[in-house]
């Protein structure tokens, strides 16, 4: 029930915030803050009360099932495992920040703004929790419309174009996923007469290779566009740079993560054979994304656009890791989702602070802020370092784990992916140099961070340091559900191992490891 409450609190809070504008102009902000805070506390409570993972136990912590449209086999299923829990914590944390940074920035239609903000969060929460594919699509779309309004009403100058593009890209890819969901539904139903959208039951569907491939591409369409993977990324720089700060933070911090989450939760376990076939191509796309995003990030002059392209680059690691199919890489992916959510969110927030003060996002007009605004400089330095993968900060753990995992799957692509880290250093340091170190082009004074802004920034610094220095709690929480997603692959590997054992008996563990990779290729 607690899961349902999380969504209900956000949705009701949204409606209340909208209506409360009439009574007092500040009320929507407080209501929104209170709603997200309540959810955050609930999520933290859930995390703290989670028992330590025991081997072989079900990864599901809480489950809720209510019939919704029984005629179609649609159930309102919410279920929470470690992966969802981590995502929820991230969602509510970023949600709180999004409310706080809008406190001064958003001045018109505040009621409607907070309604949209809370409903985006509600949609995202639903996406991370639901285990019914109909409901999943439902929430997938619910988070889309409010985001459209956030960009289209409160965005920067070119907001209409950006909002359109965002909407059409995601909607088009979402419809393909809907087709794939329906295909899966009817295939499953025709096999055993049980027409249902229940994720747990659909997991056991046996698919013909051709059907599996088509259905997988349907799901991939939605997730790769959302992630985004390089040929489908062109909505991202526009949407990110035109959105208001809260919108950019939610886009980068959360919406992109729903794509990664969808890959982990649905694509991997539902289509184990088709994904193995597609894996080399997916990893290639990931590497192309890493390098392409980095190069484009380096050549931007618009600060928010620059950060947006770094997202493209960082998300390349996610798809690289997901399609490596081993625990190392998936742990890296989960870490990357959280760390990137924080670090990129923080960079967007800093861009927002600068925009509030300077009314420009052009790097050419910035410079010399290290002396003028030392607090802002230090905080920016932390997150720029995080973005380039400095050890001790969360992103390092994430990218390191991902690369270790993907090395086992594909050596050459991993080598190229590592080049991305070097490029990341280049574009990250460019931010610091251009904005903070170079001599100032103008002599305007720049106010340093005030208390509210420090209140936003400091917790993020603490968290990213914690993730970098002691990531074990996060890894522990994610482990059971990651193993769950990989179950189908481990079964595959067990079969292959038997073949290997027949061929050459008694080999050392490390050699066997490479053997597995070799036998995987002809599949």
């Amino acid at each position: 029930m607690i899961l349902l409450w999380m969504i209900v609190i956000l949705m009701a809070g949204g409606l209340l915030a909208w209506l409360s504008k009439k009574w007092h102009p500040v009320l929507p902000r407080w209501i929104a803050l209170f709603a997200v805070l309540t959810d955050f506390i609930l999520a933290v409570y859930l995390w703290l009360s989670t028992p330590a993972a025991t081997l072989g136990a079900s990864p599901w912590l809480v489950q809720l099932e209510i019939p919704w449209v029984p005629q179609w086999g649609v159930n309102f299923i919410l279920a929470l495992d470690g992966l969802s829990l981590l995502m929820l914590l991230l969602t509510f944390f970023i949600g709180i920040l999004a409310v706080l940074i809008s406190w001064r920035e958003i001045k018109v239609k505040t009621g409607f703004f907070h309604f949209n903000l809370l409903w985006v969060l509600a949609g995202i929460t639903g996406v991370f929790l639901t285990m019914d594919l109909f409901l999943f699509y439902f929430f997938w779309e619910v988070m889309l419309i409010p985001m459209y309004f956030l960009i289209g009403v409160w965005g920067h100058a070119n907001r209409n174009y950006a909002a359109y593009k965002f909407f059409l890209f995601t909607q088009a890819s979402g419809l393909l996923m809907l087709l794939a969901i329906l295909g899966l539904y009817f295939i499953h139903g025709s096999q055993n007469g049980n027409y249902t959208f229940n994720y747990f039951e659909l997991l056991g569907t046996t698919l013909a290779p051709e059907a599996a491939r088509l259905l997988m591409f349907g799901f991939l369409a939605a997730f790769l566009v959302k992630l985004p993977v390089v040929p489908f990324h062109s909505w991202l720089p526009d949407a990110h740079s035109e959105a208001p700060t809260a919108g950019s933070v939610i886009l980068a911090g959360l919406l992109l993560k729903t794509g990664a989450y969808g890959l982990l939760r649905f694509v991997l376990p539902l289509f184990p054979t088709a994904t193995v076939e597609f894996a080399p191509w997916a990893m290639l796309l990931g590497v192309v994304g890493i390098i392409y995003g980095a190069i484009l990030a380096y050549s931007q002059t618009d600060l928010k656009r620059l950060v947006a392209y770094t997202s493209v680059s960082h998300m390349g690691f996610v798809i690289l890791g997901v399609f490596a199919f081993n625990e190392w890489a998936l742990q890296g992916v989960v870490m990357q989702m959280i760390a990137h959510g924080l670090s990129t969110g923080a960079l967007f927030i800093i861009a927002g602070f600068l925009y509030e003060r300077l009314h420009t996002r052009d790097i050419g007009q910035m410079g010399g802020f290290w002396a003028k605004a030392p607090k802002m400089g230090v905080i920016a330095l932390v997150f720029v370092m995080a973005s380039l993968g400095l050890p001790g900060l969360g992103n390092f753990i994430a990218e390191f784990l991902t690369l270790v995992g993907s090395w086992q799957a594909n050596n050459w692509l991993t080598v190229f992916a590592t080049i991305g880290l070097v490029l990341a250093t280049a574009y990250s340091l460019r931010i610091m140099q251009k904005v903070f170190y170079e001599p100032a082009p103008t002599d305007h004074p720049l106010a340093d961070l005030n208390v509210r802004e420090m209140l936003i920034a400091v917790p993020m610094v603490v968290l990213i340091l914690w993730l970098g220095l002691y990531p074990q709690p996060v890894l522990d929480t994610a482990t059971p559900s990651i193993n769950q997603q990989l179950q189908a692959y481990q079964e595959l590997e067990v079969k292959e191992e038997k073949v290997a054992v027949v061929e050459e008996k008694a080999e050392e563990q490390s050699i066997k490891q490479t053997k597995r990779e070799n036998t995987k290729v002809p599949l």
């Binding site: 919704w68 449209v69 029984p70 005629q71 179609w72 018109v108 239609k109 409607f112 109909f134 699509y137 439902f138 779309e141 619910v142 889309l144 419309i145 459209y148 309004f149 289209g152 009403v153 209409n160 909002a163 359109y164 909407f167 059409l168 909607q171 088009a172 419809l175 393909l176 809907l178 087709l179 329906l182 295909g183 539904y185 009817f186």
Partner: protein, 486 residues
Amino acid sequence: MTQTDFLYLMPLIILTVAALVNMLVVAAWRNHKIIYVITAVSFVAAFLSLFELRGITAYTIDPLFVIDSFGVFYIGLILATSLLISMLSYAYFEQREEQKEEYYILLILSTLGACTLVISTHFASLFLGLEVLSVALYSLISYLRGREHSDEAGVKYLILAAFSSAFLLFGMALVYFSLGTMSFGGIAAAITDLPTLPLLLLTGFGMMIVGIGFKLSVVPFHMWTPDVYEGAPAPVTAFIATVSKAGVLGILIRFFMEVDGFRYPTLLTIFTIVAIASMIAGNLLALMQTNVKRILAYSSISHLGYLLVAFLAGNQMGVEAITFYLVAYFITTVGAFGVVAMLSDTERDAELLEDYRSLLWRRPWTATAFTAMLLSLAGIPLTAGFVGKFYILAAGVNTQQWLLVSMLVLNSIIGLYYYIKIIAVMFQQPEAEAEPRERLRPSIYLASVGTLAVLTLLLVLVGVYPAALVDAIQNIFSSAPAFVAK
């Protein structure tokens, strides 16, 4: 006719009596309010009389009518829609100079025609119903004679509708010539053994499709739609877009299911081409419009294409999907034209995109309702339109109509673009504070505002909790064996 026959035909009789009473009252004392009340009460009474007929098995009134749960549901849908449209009409016509009273008589008559259509099982009653509907529509469309496009729309509809009726008649004659019967049951019995349709019969069916296609405004018989939608008063446009199409679609489903037309690949090919052409042409042409009524006109063409996708599924799920989609589409369309009617002033309808600029800032509630309607037309979750589109997609995927389904998806995306365009215009920030326009007494708008609120709530309710409606629709078809796939 026996006494029970009268009981079963009660909704139609109530409507007929209401039209007559209205005429007498107009002759005695012209008063907008009284006529309006009589009309609304008669719609409600006819609707309530349907509850007597709930859950019946087919009751035949030889040779013209059959009253079964399918017919009852469609009559209910038509009556409810007409009631809502009459609610929206009051404020709209109150501010006009013209005589308003006859409007309601015509509205009742055309509703009567649509109701007759959906329970017909004979060419004679089919044609009768269709003509009652159309003739009333001729004058409804050009009701506001002083308007710029009014005559054009009326004459266009008159000529083309008469032309298409001629096609329909010729088609019927050909079918009668080759089979010697005009009742649906007789036709079904006569062609059960035919593996393919003989040329003469095929021509007959083809000409009937032309006639029906015109009424449904599917491509390539759609030319009249945008002009008529633009020229007609907003409530009448809502009526054409909903009630008249429901009647024709109802008879199409009944006829096709009864004679099992899905056996003949030629007919299926014709409908497939029509469906794809309607979707694509409707959506592409809508992209180029700047007039909201014309956008809605073209979007209705494409929506008919979507409906045909479910129709081509040719099984019970397909018909269920059509029925569900119609309910969702009616709520949405009546709501959308309701907003247009409410924003219209004495001189012209609020039909240009300019009229909607920054509506969110001027009239937030109206803008919200309109946004909900447009999102439903685009098929976005939380609205009835999404569940309807989902149902259609499910019916299509179920019967593996991959071409049609992928066309539907492609067109949904194109469609999204122009719905969003209207929304984006409404959400634009105003440059200067606009003068609030002068409005009539607010009490007049009570009915309109109430209706819009009800429609918006229904829209969300059906979108969030479709189980009840799905259940109701599935019940109809479980008690109407004629519609279960053969």
